[in-house]
């Protein structure tokens, strides 16, 4: 299903999405982030520093609440995410490609009900990258493309005054149907223009991982390379690269006490990062990954080797956030290339 939408009717489409909460990138306090879609959303954003991953995997998730009166058994009350239907506009293809990857993680072995419940009500309306949203993008080298539809329900292509709207999934079709008369039928010229724009986007020069297919084997061979410490030398061990990555999913579980008489609190999941030193530290103080190099190796290997070994795909979609946002410029592309080049 394909259609045309006047850019200034985007708000009307959103208004027509009955029962859906809509979100779109907006600039506030100097940065772009996904916000409830305002009166006149314009999809002219660069890549938002934070990906839309929080919609399905929020930074904080309450699993259940507990309450215990002295001498009695604790009472547990599971907290389930309220069933909501949310549609996120303006998702870049790299972030779209992150969706199936996250889906894999949270359904592998057993289903994570919390993720699933949020994911079930989510739709992503993507926006093709006619021009690269950042100089650090490298989606093509990791199997993606600036016009990829992977993980998206709808893909928009910017035609200047109008969007070319293409449904990817049934949900996408439903969203488009809701637009009714707002959508116009595209003609051959428009289709041609889209094809041209897409081809041009793909043809844009991009930096990239040299041979992503070979990366798993190369990283395996280079596991003991002294280069890891070398490459991590400037790393300050913050969590930016992981917190902002659309596919990083590590988390922590903690009990948050909110009262002591009687004992009250919640068990809560929060994002965590393999770059933090205590992430793997045993209670004895032994830490299997006790250097910045070993932690960088874990992050990069997880994305380019382990995930591939388990699921047959890279866990990096080339969004470039970990590169652009890293305070000291640790560059995952360079890391993969250097390690691969050293073996």
């Amino acid at each position: 299903m394909e259609a045309l939408l006047d850019k200034n009717r985007l708000k009307d489409w959103i208004a027509a999405l009955d029962g859906w909460e809509a979100y779109a990138p907006a600039r506030q306090d100097g940065i772009w982030s996904y916000q409830p879609a305002g009166d006149n959303p314009e999809l002219n954003h660069p890549n938002t520093p934070q990906p839309p991953k929080g919609f399905a995997f929020p930074q904080r998730e309450i699993f259940f609440k507990f309450e215990q009166v002295k001498g009695e058994a604790p009472r547990l009350t599971a907290v389930s995410p309220a069933p909501t239907f949310r549609v996120v506009f303006g998702v870049r293809p790299c972030d779209g490609r992150a969706v199936p990857r996250m889906d894999r993680v949270f359904s592998d072995h057993v289903d994570d009900g919390y993720y699933q419940a949020r994911r079930d009500g989510l739709a992503y309306v993507g926006l093709a990258c006619n021009t690269p949203p950042s100089r650090h993008c490298f989606c093509q080298s990791v199997g993606g493309s600036p016009v990829s539809t992977d993980g998206l329900d709808v893909l928009l292509t910017d035609l200047g005054e109008r969007y070319f709207v293409a449904a990817v999934t049934d949900t996408g079709k439903a969203l488009m149907q809701a637009a009714g008369a707002l959508l116009a039928k595209p003609g051959a010229a428009e289709r041609k223009e889209v094809a041209r724009l897409h081809a041009a986007a793909v043809a844009q020069p991009q930096r990239g991982v040299n041979d992503a297919a070979a990366a798993p084997a190369k990283l395996k061979a280079g596991f003991d390379s002294p280069l890891w410490e070398e490459l991590a030398r400037a790393c300050i061990g913050c969590g930016i690269c992981t917190f902002l990555c659309p596919t990083c999913h590590c988390f922590d579980i903690n009990d948050e006490v909110t009262g002591t008489v009687p004992l009250k609190g919640s068990r809560v999941r929060t994002w965590d990062s393999c770059q933090f030193p205590d992430f793997t530290m045993h209670s004895s103080g032994h830490n299997p990954r006790d250097t910045l190099g070993s932690r960088l190796r874990q992050r990069v290997s997880h994305k380019f080797r382990y995930f591939h070994e388990n699921f047959g795909m890279h866990q990096c979609t080339g969004c470039g956030r970990c590169v652009s946002e890293c305070p000291v410029g640790i560059d995952i592309v360079r890391v993969v290339n250097e390690i691969a080049g050293s073996v």
């Binding site: 009166v69 002295k70 909110t258 009262g259 002591t260 008489v261």
Partner: protein, 651 residues
């Protein structure tokens, strides 16, 4: 500590004092719902005999390991109930008091409100108790010896009092002789008795006292340890003269070719490089001033060694460091005068006939440079017009010292009066701001100086003085008459402010004791602990602590001695065990706690803070300062405080 605490709560009615406003039964009931509480009851008078017995019984019967008594102020019965806990076989520190009387029942009327608050107070005590550790008081052995620093009248008096009480004393004096400033005075107000005459016998007594080890020409270089157990390193500078061998024949000074100003005479006369400060110096021996000497090399000079028949001179004498162990320290390092060179308006000390008080004392002294005649240093003529200026450097926060030096009014009156006795036809003027003559017989003394000795007192400041035609022109105002005053004086005597001596600053540094904003040694409490320093075991005496005259100095010295005697009369000192403890793993050695601790109880060892439990008073300043929560006071830990906050908020 592998199982949960078993806390007992005892809620007191205090007759009706508490029970009238607080629902004590409810408090007891609610406390029973606390996690750690296994026993909770209320009782009419907890502190009564049966009440106390009941507590002891309940502890035993319920195998309690911690106790909370919710009753009146801990000031009243904390000890009682801690003793009860102890009697029941618990450690006293596992008992906490919740004050629901003074802080609750007595100050509120509404029963519900008061009960709710009482519950919060009690709950926070329960939380605290459930994390209390059993602590044993820290016992400290004591060394029954005392170090006295400074051999002025303060040090002398303290040393004698201590020694007479049977304590061994080490008296360290920086100069070659005992005596301090008092030995330089001619007569002393208000009785005008001869200073040397009253001091010399005491000096002799010190030197002969079997319990006093006198170390002159010595300095304290390092002090470690703590109350009861200080270790002191004392540097004994070489005098190059063996006091035992020296016969005081004075042959050496006759041949010594070097002349330097005589400090004892405040530069009014000169002395040789080898010298005795004054005839009655104790120890009675010569000292070779190495800074002045031409060189300890017989080739260069060596005249004194040649001439000394007693063979007392030893050029090879070396500085020696002696280590002494003492249980307490008295600091009596005295004062200096505010330098004349600080006073630009009075000629920067460059006008020869402008003297300071001590110099004038020497001029009046029968043993002084002029054998007791008041003569101008410049031409040895008898001054006929002498101006005395009080508050020279005192009470002038903008330029000089803010404080009142306290003794200047008196000694100026004394000086004027002595002058008039020496030069009956001379005229004496005194410029003053106020006359402060509180003290027995002091006011009368000043009145006599004014009336009998016909001294002219002018209220006002001298703005400037300068030399003209062999006179010193003094420009001032008499604020009473509003007139400008100009006097052509033959001599001017400045009553310079009393400042802490250089040695006092040095001693404070070595001892790590505080000084006040003026540099005098800081007492632990301005009213209640005037002779204690901030550090346990270190006491203060004399002008090192603040300006004072001789009677006050002596009184403080004796007071310090009494404090030391009291301290060292205990066979063992005990110290509260609620002291700070470092979590070494978290400490980064940033030294913030070290700087913040008011008791200097913390130092670094291998890059980690270490608390000296004996010095720590448990104030918690370190705990609130450490950024990393690496130091906590036992039984008042961060966790305990946080849980108390939670309890108070019903969180």
């Amino acid at each position: 500590m592998s199982s949960k605490k078993r806390t007992g709560v005892f809620v007191c009615h205090c007759g009706n004092n508490i029970a009238a406003t607080v629902d004590v039964a409810k408090v007891a009931r609610v406390m029973a719902t606390e996690d750690s509480v296994v026993y909770s009851e209320d009782y009419v008078y907890m502190c009564s005999d049966p009440g106390q017995k009941a507590v002891i019984e309940a502890i035993k019967k319920n195998q309690l390991d911690s106790v909370v008594v919710t009753c009146c102020s801990p000031n009243l019965h904390e000890k009682t109930f801690r003793d009860n806990a102890q009697a029941a076989g618990l450690n006293g520190f596992t008992c906490e008091i919740a004050n629901i009387r003074e802080q609750c029942a007595w100050v509120h009327k509404d029963r519900n409100v008061a009960t709710a608050k009482a519950i919060k107070i009690s709950r926070s005590a329960v939380r605290r108790a459930s994390r209390n550790q059993a602590l044993e008081p820290i016992g400290i052995g004591v060394t029954r010896r005392v170090l006295v620093i400074g051999g002025g009248i303060a040090g002398i008096q303290a040393a004698l009092d201590l020694a007479n009480a049977g304590l061994e004393v080490v008296l360290v004096e920086k100069q070659a002789t005992l005596g301090g400033h008092m030995i330089q005075l001619s007569e002393t107000f208000p009785t005008l008795d001869c200073s040397q005459c009253i001091l010399s016998p005491k000096m002799v007594e010190v030197s002969r006292h079997p319990k006093i080890k006198l170390m002159t020409y010595s300095e304290v270089k390092e002090v470690t340890g703590y109350v009861g157990n200080f270790k002191v390193n004392i540097l004994k500078k070489p005098t190059y003269v063996d006091p035992e061998a020296c016969k005081l024949c004075d042959d050496c000074t006759q041949v010594c070719p070097v002349m330097v100003p005589n400090q004892y005479e405040l530069g009014l006369t000169a002395r040789r490089a080898i010298h005795i400060p004054f005839a009655q110096a104790i120890p009675a021996s010569y000292t070779l001033d190495i800074d002045a000497c031409l060189g300890l090399n017989p080739v260069r000079c060596g005249k004194c060694k040649d001439v000394c028949e007693a063979g007392a001179i030893d050029y090879d004498m070396l500085p020696r460091t002696v280590t002494e162990e003492v249980g307490a320290i008295v600091v009596a390092t005295g004062f200096d005068l505010y330098g004349q060179d600080n006073l630009g308006e009075y000629g920067h000390g460059k006008i020869e006939d402008v003297l300071d008080g001590l110099q004038f004392e020497r001029l009046c002294s029968a043993s002084g440079p002029t054998r007791g005649k008041v003569l101008r240093p410049s031409d040895h003529s008898e001054p006929k017009d002498v101006v005395f200026i009080q508050c020279a450097g005192s009470r002038d926060p903008a330029q000089h010292c803010a404080y009142c030096s306290k003794i200047c009014c008196m000694y100026t009156a004394k000086h004027a009066s002595l002058y008039k006795h020496h030069v009956p036809d001379g005229r004496a003027w005194v410029f003053y701001i106020d006359i402060r003559s509180g003290g027995k017989g002091y006011e009368e003394f000043v009145q006599r100086t004014m009336e009998t000795d016909e001294t002219i007192y002018l209220r006002g400041r001298v703005s400037r003085l300068y030399q003209e035609n062999g006179k010193i022109r003094v420009l001032g105002t008499d604020t009473l008459s509003g007139q400008n005053v100009e006097i052509d004086a033959d001599m001017v005597v400045l009553a310079l402010a009393m400042t802490p001596s250089k040695g006092t600053a040095e001693a404070a540094k070595v001892l790590k004791i505080g000084r006040d904003k003026d540099g005098f040694l800081a007492e632990a409490h301005p009213k209640l602990k005037p002779v204690e320093s901030v550090t346990a075991g270190i006491f203060l005496a004399g002008t090192a602590q603040g300006p004072k005259d001789i009677p006050e100095t002596v009184a403080q010295a004796s007071a310090a001695a009494a404090k030391v005697i009291g301290l060292l009369s205990q066979p063992r000192l005990t110290h509260a065990p609620t002291v700070a403890k470092v979590r070494a793993a978290h400490c980064t050695g940033c030294e913030m706690c070290v700087d913040a601790c008011p008791y200097d109880a913390i130092h670094l060892e291998n890059g980690k803070a270490v608390v000296n439990a004996v010095l720590c008073e448990g104030c918690g300043t370190c705990q609130s300062t450490c950024l990393r929560a690496a130091i906590e006071v036992k039984n008042a830990t961060l966790l305990q405080m946080n849980e108390m906050i939670e309890a108070v908020l019903g969180y």
